[in-house]
């Protein structure tokens, strides 16, 4: 006999919907996902439950719950986190021609355990009046002496920087990457900031002239104030391409409705969902041809790094250790 026992106080409060709702564990914050989920409920009639936290606790929770988990989908940001989820065995391989066709190979797990849903670029932002864009070229070149006291970076504790450095280790090897990261540290105008937004603020305040940020942080600032004296520069166009990262999702290993979960992921790569999802936080859609936010469109095309994004996960540990050794706080 299987009895469902819940504590008296909670019994009335835990939601027990009649149809099985999709249960989604998400690292992406509510305002950047909920409108999309509401739209999916509208078109499909499928209800959902949402639990938001950082990816590490969510993965720990999925592991601990094991077979008994209620979760069907895990949504996280950053390829490193997706790689980690797959590595911890909390996701399952998914067979879907739609996902295979629409999501480029370098933006999904080699074993189909997760698929990217949006793309963000980590790029250079500079002050129009104080920097001649002709002086800018690559991430690597920001280690040159001419940027001494002019560079702002976010803390190395943010996964976006870890992925960037990881991709450089993959591309250039550890020794060369070490030289570059040490060069960045030497060029810092101020100690690393707590967020990309703060790095942009520091340029505006005149403390530094260039910074490395994710495009959407810049987009949000421009949206607030279109006359901002800041501009985007796409680095490494003659070489490896701009470092990109993703937000993505996978079906949990012990989901009891994998078909419904896959159907949801397939809808997420439809043109409607892609345009909506990407514009919500001014990212790039993962599917070619989906509509861009006008601000994002104004930045023009760029060549992106074509190395598979999951490499970031493989190299993350090395990247963090290297940044520690280079005294990048």
């Amino acid at each position: 006999m299987k009895t469902l026992l819940t504590f008296a106080a909670a019994a009335t409060l835990t939601i027990t919907a009649s149809a099985n709702p999709l249960v989604i564990y998400s690292e992406r914050n509510e305002q950047l996902i909920k409108p999309l989920l509401d739209r999916y409920s509208e078109v499909s009639g499928v209800e959902y439950e949402l639990l938001i936290d950082k990816s590490a606790p969510l993965i720990a929770k999925l592991k601990a719950e094991g077979k008994r988990t209620q979760a069907d989908i895990l949504i996280t940001v950053d390829a490193g986190n997706l790689w980690h989820a797959a590595n911890e065995g909390v996701l399952q391989s998914v067979e879907s021609t739609t996902l295979e066709e629409k999501v480029p190979a370098e933006l999904q797990d080699p074993n189909n355990q997760w698929f990217a849903l949006t793309v963000r670029a980590r790029t250079i932002v500079f002050h129009k009046d104080r920097v001649n864009p002709a002086d800018l070229s690559t991430y690597e070149a920001l280690a040159d002496d001419k940027w001494k006291g002019r560079l702002c970076l976010r803390t190395s504790k943010k996964v976006y920087n870890q992925s960037l450095v990881g991709s450089m280790i993959n591309r250039l090897g550890e020794d060369k990457t070490m030289d570059i990261v040490s060069g960045w540290v030497k060029n810092l105008a101020t100690q690393p900031t707590s967020s990309d937004t703060k790095a942009l603020d520091a340029i505006l305040a005149g403390q530094c002239d260039v910074a490395l940020v994710n495009t959407y942080y810049f987009g949000r600032k421009v949206k607030e104030d279109p006359s901002l004296p800041l501009e985007i520069f796409w680095p490494n166009q003659q070489t490896s391409g701009v470092h990109i990262n993703v937000s993505g999702a996978g079906v949990t290993k012990h989901s009891d409705q994998p078909d419904a979960a896959i159907a949801f992921l397939e809808w997420m790569v439809s043109d409607e969902a892609q345009a909506m999802y990407a514009s919500m936080d001014m990212e790039f859609p993962v599917v070619k041809g989906a509509k861009l936010d006008p601000i994002v469109e104004s930045w023009g095309n760029f060549k992106a790094d074509s190395n598979p994004v999951y490499k970031a996960g493989e190299y993350q540990r090395k990247a963090v250790m290297l940044m520690d050794a280079a005294q990048y706080k």
């Binding site: 299987k2 720990a60 803390t155 504790k157 101020t190 963090v320």
Partner: protein, 526 residues
């Protein structure tokens, strides 16, 4: 004999329930990632321990000066607004430390209004980076001093005038009287408050990361979030647990038994007049404004720009927050009271050594406690499903969430009771016993009146912390059960402070409610 058994049973049971999840962290020592440990030892361990130590010293001094200073002023003097300020000085506790930190940096840092203005006046002035160790200590002291203030404030009220008069007659100087006579009497309250301050400072992640000040807790987060090693993070957490254990043990050891005078003569406050009144009053109001006024004004300014849609989503989180705070405060205070009442005359050394174990939860980073609790629940759930076939749910229910708060905040309640029970009059109690009073009558007429301030302080501290709590709420709440702290997080995680301002403001106002309700009161001028 039998009562001793029951007492031990309850005591031990409480310790297992509360410390169990934390002890689970110790099981992670089975496998050690030596490569990672080498890296941590080389680049972080010592340096971050020292950083944590500096933080503890700084915040200890800051909160003690503010806490005891303000408690002394409001106890000793009467001036314009002293009645209001006696209660109001605990209100800054409603402000989450990282919110205070963000506002402070917003004002004082490079792109803030002060420096921007200074640069327009004289462009060569350069940049002053406010993100430094003094900034962290400053901000933390301003939000944490109320622990010291609250827990030492009612100790002042119990000072015996006659002792002080004797000392005065004997020709002791003012400072000697304060440090030799008065200070020892408020020591248990001060230490209890200071221990809470220290545990909170040890566990803090949000504030220190705003300032780029790495502490031992930073290393724990980094190990887990960046190196993906929950096991090593758990191992580091157990080091932090050891530090907290030593702190608590030291506090317990140095807890002086307060000699209780059966009759105390209250020390009449000095009613200030003239210039002295103006100075003391101005200083007190200034400190109050710095602690609470500035952050509130900044949040009001920001939240006037918060989109209406964000405001509209706050009603349900508000009622959820209130329900959780009320339920947890009552549950946790009741259990802590039970522990204290069993313990206060205990001479059982073994039982006494268990007590600090129940207080460790407050010294660990919130996320670590949340995950440990979650793992603990799922082990229990799995055990029950395997052995009994019941598909029991603990995590994801309100009961589970309150349980997690119990683990994290038990020490708040029990620390609040320390002072009350320390000055419990065993003499009176024994006298009542020999006179044949029933236990219930003894409780109602002797114990409760003496310990009531402590119990109220416990309810107050727990509810205000539950209102601010984030990591456990995120991980263990029932689906869709949003709280105000969650709404703040939703926006601050994206560095969107304009949107975060509305829920943050409501959260602080909600926290002011229990604080004001259970505020310390000015002694009547009898």
């Amino acid at each position: 004999m039998q009562t001793t058994f029951i007492k031990r049973f309850i005591q031990f049971g409480l310790a297992i329930i509360i410390a169990g999840p934390l002890l689970l962290l110790l099981s992670y020592w089975w496998t050690v990632d030596s490569q990672l440990w080498q890296h941590i030892l080389k680049y972080q361990f010592l340096h971050l321990l020292v950083n944590s130590f500096i933080l503890l010293i700084g915040v200890g001094v800051g909160t003690s000066c503010l806490g005891i200073g303000l408690a002394w002023i409001t106890y000793r003097y009467r001036f314009t607004g002293s009645k209001f300020l006696t209660g109001a000085f605990i209100l800054p506790l409603a402000i989450p430390a990282y919110v205070q930190g963000f506002i402070y940096l917003g004002i004082a840092d490079v792109s803030g209004p002060i420096q921007t203005w200074l640069r327009t006046v004289s462009p060569d002035i350069g940049y002053f980076d406010a993100r430094n160790v003094f900034g962290v200590i400053w901000v933390m002291s301003w939000v944490l001093y109320p622990y010291v203030y609250l827990l030492s404030r009612h100790a002042f009220a119990k000072l015996d005038k006659s002792q002080i008069e004797v000392a005065k007659l004997a020709g002791f100087s003012h400072s000697k009287i304060f440090f030799r006579l008065i200070f020892p009497m408020i020591r248990p309250g001060w230490l209890a408050g200071l221990t809470l301050v220290w545990m909170e400072a040890l566990a803090d992640f949000g504030t220190v990361s705003l300032f780029g000040y790495d502490t031992f807790t930073t290393a724990i987060y980094k190990t887990w979030f960046d190196f993906y090693s929950l096991a090593t993070a758990a191992q580091l957490s157990s080091v932090l647990m050891l530090i907290a254990f030593v702190l608590l043990w030291w506090e317990k050891r140095s807890e002086s038994r307060i000699l209780h005078e059966s009759k105390i003569t209250l020390w009449e406050p000095i009613i200030l007049k003239g210039l002295a009144e103006k100075l003391v009053s101005a200083l007190s109001w200034l400190l109050f404004l710095a602690a609470l006024g500035v952050p509130l004004i900044q949040l009001i300014v920001w939240s006037s720009q918060t989109p209406g849609q964000t405001w509209n989503q706050l009603a349900e989180p508000l009622s959820n927050t209130l329900i959780l705070a009320g339920l947890s405060a009552l549950t946790i205070t009741t259990l802590a009271y039970l522990q204290s009442i069993i313990n206060y005359r205990n001479t059982d050394k073994f039982m006494e050594s268990i007590v600090p174990m129940t207080k460790l939860g407050y010294a660990l980073p919130g996320t670590v406690v949340a995950v440990a609790t979650m793992l603990w629940f799922s082990q229990i759930e799995n055990l029950i499903v395997d052995k009994l076939g019941w598909d029991l749910l603990i995590s994801g229910t309100l009961a589970g969430l309150i349980f997690a708060y119990l683990i994290r905040f038990f020490s708040l309640a029990s620390q609040s009771l320390v002072d009350s029970f320390a000055r419990m009059q065993s003499l009176v109690n024994d006298a009542a016993k020999t006179l044949g009073a029933s236990p219930w009558r003894r409780f109602r007429q002797v114990i409760w009146p003496l310990t009531r301030p402590g119990a109220l302080a416990a309810i107050l501290l727990v509810s205000v912390e539950v209102i601010k709590e984030l990591p456990a709420t995120l991980l263990l709440r029932p689906f869709g059960w949003d709280t105000l702290a969650l709404k703040v997080y939703q926006w601050t995680a994206e560095a969107m402070w304009i949107e975060a301002a509305a829920p943050a403001l409501i959260l602080i106002l909600t926290g002011l409610l229990p604080l004001w309700l259970f505020r310390p009161k000015e002694e009547s001028n009898a």
